[in-house]
């Protein structure tokens, strides 16, 4: 197709703009005809709101799904996963199998979470079962670690205990809604420090589900030594790994930014813990990402004009179990170090190569199946179509210890083959 791609963005980041310019795309404003719009989450809300009556044409693509918040808002993510698990349980799926304590064997990857104030009473019941545990309070709609705090006493969240029937508390406003989750106080430590994993996942369609994992994820380390001691609960430098918070700590280093590549993590774990358990850990990480996407797939508006690149935050505990903490719709494109800048530049580059094939004017009716050569640093995490076709295993099979994603069997919903690979 002749003509250059016309792009718009409301996020002024060089890693984005450089990528558009290097493709020879033309910048336009949003009131003109555009083909590609990299939007902030506020803008996507407007574009797809009922009042806007916005109609995207076939040659227009945007970087968010209309109701991405089903996955990216902390309370909705948990709600959807709980719903998904219940559904599987109802169908008698082996995926929903539980152990003797009533914990899901394969789907217990989100720490116990309650919405406040709605689930306050349920939370109190749970809290009383293990009163020495620590919980983390997070505002539903904020990012970058803002407004987060830890509690270990009921009195610290008194104000959410008010009867939700009274109108004096702004429980109606979703801005003030909080989730409270069991704090993982036994994180895996490396060099005595806590860290979390940031992984990038690209979803091109939810039904059928097709998602890609970026191979170059990274670990974010806290600058201060981890201690579960209660006196340090207020020290956010110990507990929160958001770079936005760590950047202000005294020991923040601007060369490495407190970050490690996932490959370093892999090397370290293989060297100190062994290949099998490391392979299993990474397989589990892929698994929980795919399950979280499957959980929201039924409620997602699978608009064909959309794709989305998510930032997954995962914590590994000292038993090498990964936990899904949250999913970000707008992972930060700010670069804290030179390495960072390169990584994010390449991330956008590879994302665009998949979302906008050949860098040409898009046609949203295309089959969203890019050839292997354009994947760059992405690898196929899960492809529902391939998984359900014959010979699907060939595409998804990976070399031992280098997971390319769930092995062929795991992709089938019956889950029967899953159990053999896992057990």
């Amino acid at each position: 197709m002749a003509g250059k791609v016309k792009w718009v963005t409301d996020i002024e980041k060089s890693v984005l703009i450089n990528n558009f310019e290097k493709r020879g795309w033309v910048q336009v404003t949003d009131s003109e005809d555009w083909n590609f719009y990299w939007m902030s989450v506020q803008t996507i809300r407007n574009v797809f709101s009922v009042e806007a009556g916005y109609r995207l044409s076939d040659d227009q693509i945007v970087n968010h799904f209309p109701n991405h918040y089903e996955l990216t808002r902390k309370d909705l993510m948990v709600k959807n996963i709980k719903r998904y698990r219940k559904e599987l349980e109802k169908e008698g799926s082996p995926l929903a199998e539980k152990d003797e304590n009533g914990k899901y064997l394969y789907l217990d990857f989100v720490p116990v979470t309650y919405m406040l104030p709605a689930d306050y009473n349920l939370f109190v019941e749970e809290f009383r079962k293990s009163p020495s545990s620590t919980w983390i309070m997070k505002p539903c709609g904020k990012a970058q670690g803002k407004g987060i705090f830890l509690i270990n006493k009921l009195s610290q969240i008194k104000k959410w205990s008010r009867d939700s029937k009274t109108s004096s508390f702004v429980s109606q406003s979703t801005k003030e809604a909080y989730v409270i989750s069991l704090y993982i106080n036994n994180p895996l430590l490396i060099g005595g420090r806590k860290f979390d994993l940031r992984l990038y996942v690209l979803v091109s369609t939810y039904r059928p589900l097709r998602c890609y994992m970026y191979k170059l994820g990274f670990c974010r380390f806290c600058t201060v030594k981890y201690t579960p001691s209660t006196s340090e609960l207020d020290n956010m430098f110990v507990h929160l790994t958001n770079v936005a918070i760590q950047k202000h700590g005294e020991d923040y280093n601007h060369i490495h930014g407190g970050k490690w590549t996932v490959n370093n993590l892999r090397l370290y774990l293989e060297s100190t813990r062994g290949k099998e358990v490391t392979g299993k850990l990474f397989d589990e990480i892929h698994w929980i990402i795919v399950q979280s996407l499957k959980a929201v797939a039924p409620v997602m508006n699978n608009d064909k004009h959309c794709f989305e690149c998510y930032g997954y935050d995962i914590i590994i505990d000292d038993k090498l179990k990964p936990w899904l903490i949250e999913v970000n719709a707008s992972p930060s494109l700010t670069s804290s170090t030179a390495n960072d800048r390169i990584l994010k530049y390449n991330l956008i580059n590879d994302t665009l190569n998949i979302a906008v094939p050949n860098g040409e004017i898009p046609d949203c009716k295309w089959n969203k199946s890019p050839p292997k050569e354009v994947l760059g640093n992405y690898e196929i995490l899960y492809d529902e179509e391939l998984a359900q076709g014959d010979g699907a295993d060939r595409e998804l099979r990976s070399r031992p210890g280098q997971s390319l994603g769930p092995k062929g069997g795991r992709s089938r919903d019956s889950g029967r083959t899953v159990l053999t690979t896992w057990k």
Binding site: G191, V224, H256
Partner: protein, 463 residues
């Protein structure tokens, strides 16, 4: 008849020169080391005087307690280190080596040596490529290697799986010699920690742990000036490293103990250097009052902590990490910063590097010399650090596998690897016109794959 005679006398003359040279060289060596040693001690002493800090002092009880509490996070301590400077850096050491010259060699140079245009002017015998090929036969093109034959394009059944199986067998049988032979082809990541321990004969007995705890107590009770040098070094190097910053605290725990470990003095028996001595206050020159300073006889230089850093990827138990490092130091690393004629010594490595480069890449060599970018000036720092901090960790560990396997530093450090790196970037290097530009071309080795480089240089170069 005359011709034969003159040939013969030439040969004899050469032999005589060689013999003279080696005897003279040993003397030279001792002299050079002696004066270098004096220099660094002087530097240490003057730092001491300037800053009014004793070389050693006992800590008051309060301070001891504090340190004990902070033992696992000494990295968060921010003592004022601005006045401390590293006692020396690799480039200072290089200058000493360059100035190692035998005055008798001005006339009647051995023929081959007259044409040596590198910085090292010491006539040591070094292996040439055919000899290297023989020595490193397991690195040949037809033998499987980790670092090449385990890449994603190669099906694991071809080499990797079998190699892993053999490795597990070696470990099960606890066969140290077999382990050493085995890692010549590289070690699988999951087996490496155990294999290295087996090769180095480290087994973490209770007495070893006790010994480490003793050293730790020593650290708590006494403060040494070198401690500040160690802190400074870690802060300057490992803390800024993408791979090793995570392990900062382990480095203090290892290095502070290391400086107090008198058992390390044992390695001076086979090191032609001698440990630096200091004297109890007021008793200068009186042998009865001489003590080794620091207690282990090793004064750390800029980058020293990088010998320990890569090991943190393998061992996370401090006493084990300590033992492994100590053994690696007394077997290998010490040779990289002392003057000797040993084939794994830094002087030989430098000479080999220059010889290889001059012989097999003469154009590049001359070009770099012309623009004032003597190759050794660039590669020296790689070799002194055994490439730590310059290569990606997984590649570095593959390289160190081979050091252990061949019990020799010849491979890495430089000689060969450094030469191979130059060969690899030869095209770009031919185009540079300044030392700075040459440094820039070679600044980032983090993407290099060690084993393919070595193989190509050793086995595929047309001689």
């Amino acid at each position: 008849m005359l011709q034969e005679e003159s040939d013969l006398s030439l040969v004899i003359a050469q032999i005589v020169q060689k013999l003279k040279g080696s005897h003279l060289y040993a003397q030279l060596e001792r002299q050079a080391w002696g004066s270098w040693e004096k220099r660094i001690l002087k530097s240490l002493n003057s730092m001491c005087t300037e800053l009014s800090i004793p070389l050693a002092r006992k800590r008051p009880v309060g301070e001891q307690k504090e340190l004990l509490n902070k033992w696992n996070e000494m990295g968060t301590d921010e003592p004022d280190l601005s006045l401390f400077r590293p006692v020396y850096a690799p480039k200072d050491f290089l200058e000493v080596l360059i100035n190692l010259r035998n005055p008798n060699y001005e006339n009647g140079d051995s023929l081959s040596f007259r044409t040596h245009l590198g910085l090292i002017q010491v006539p040591l015998k070094v292996k040439d490529i055919p000899e290297l090929k023989e020595f490193f036969v397991e690195l040949g093109l037809t033998t499987g290697q980790l670092g090449i034959d385990d890449s994603t394009q190669v099906p694991p059944e071809l080499f990797e799986n079998e190699h892993v199986r053999i490795g597990q067998k070696v470990l099960a049988e606890q066969d140290s010699a077999a382990a050493q032979q085995y890692v010549r082809q590289g070690s699988p990541t999951a087996l490496r920690a155990e294999l290295w321990a087996l090769i180095l004969n480290i087994s973490s007995q209770p007495e070893d742990i006790l010994y480490y705890e003793q050293l730790k107590t020593n650290v708590i009770q006494h403060d040494l000036l070198v401690d500040s040098l160690i802190y400074k070094d870690v802060k300057l190097t490992a803390s800024n490293d993408d791979y090793y910053f995570v392990f900062e605290d382990y480095l203090y725990q290892v290095l502070l103990c290391f400086s107090r470990d008198t058992s390390v003095l044992g390695h001076f028996a086979y090191n032609s250097a001698s440990p630096p001595k200091s004297y109890i206050r007021g008793k200068l020159g009186l042998e009865e009052y001489a003590v080794f300073y620091p207690p282990n006889g090793v004064i750390p230089f800029h980058g020293f902590s990088m010998y320990v850093a890569p090991l943190c990827f393998l061992y996370h138990e401090p006493s084990k990490l300590y033992q492994i490092f100590r053994e690696m130091y007394v077997r290998f690393f010490f040779r990289l910063h002392s003057i000797s004629s040993h084939p794994s010594g830094i002087v030989s490595l430098c000479l080999l590097f220059e010889t290889l480069l001059q012989t097999y890449l003469p154009q590049l060599f001359y070009h770099l010399r012309e623009i004032g970018a003597q190759p050794l000036r660039i590669s020296f720092k790689w070799m002194v650090r055994a490439f730590s901090g310059y290569l990606a960790t997984d590649q570095l560990l593959l390289l160190w596998d081979r050091i252990l396997g061949y019990n020799s530093l010849e491979i890495l450090a430089g000689k060969i690897l450094a030469a191979a790196v130059f060969a690899f970037r030869a095209v770009n290097l031919m185009e540079v016109t300044s030392l700075a530009a040459a440094e820039a071309v070679l600044a980032d080795l983090s993407t290099l794959k060690v084993m393919p480089l070595l193989q190509i240089f050793l086995f595929a170069t047309v001689t």
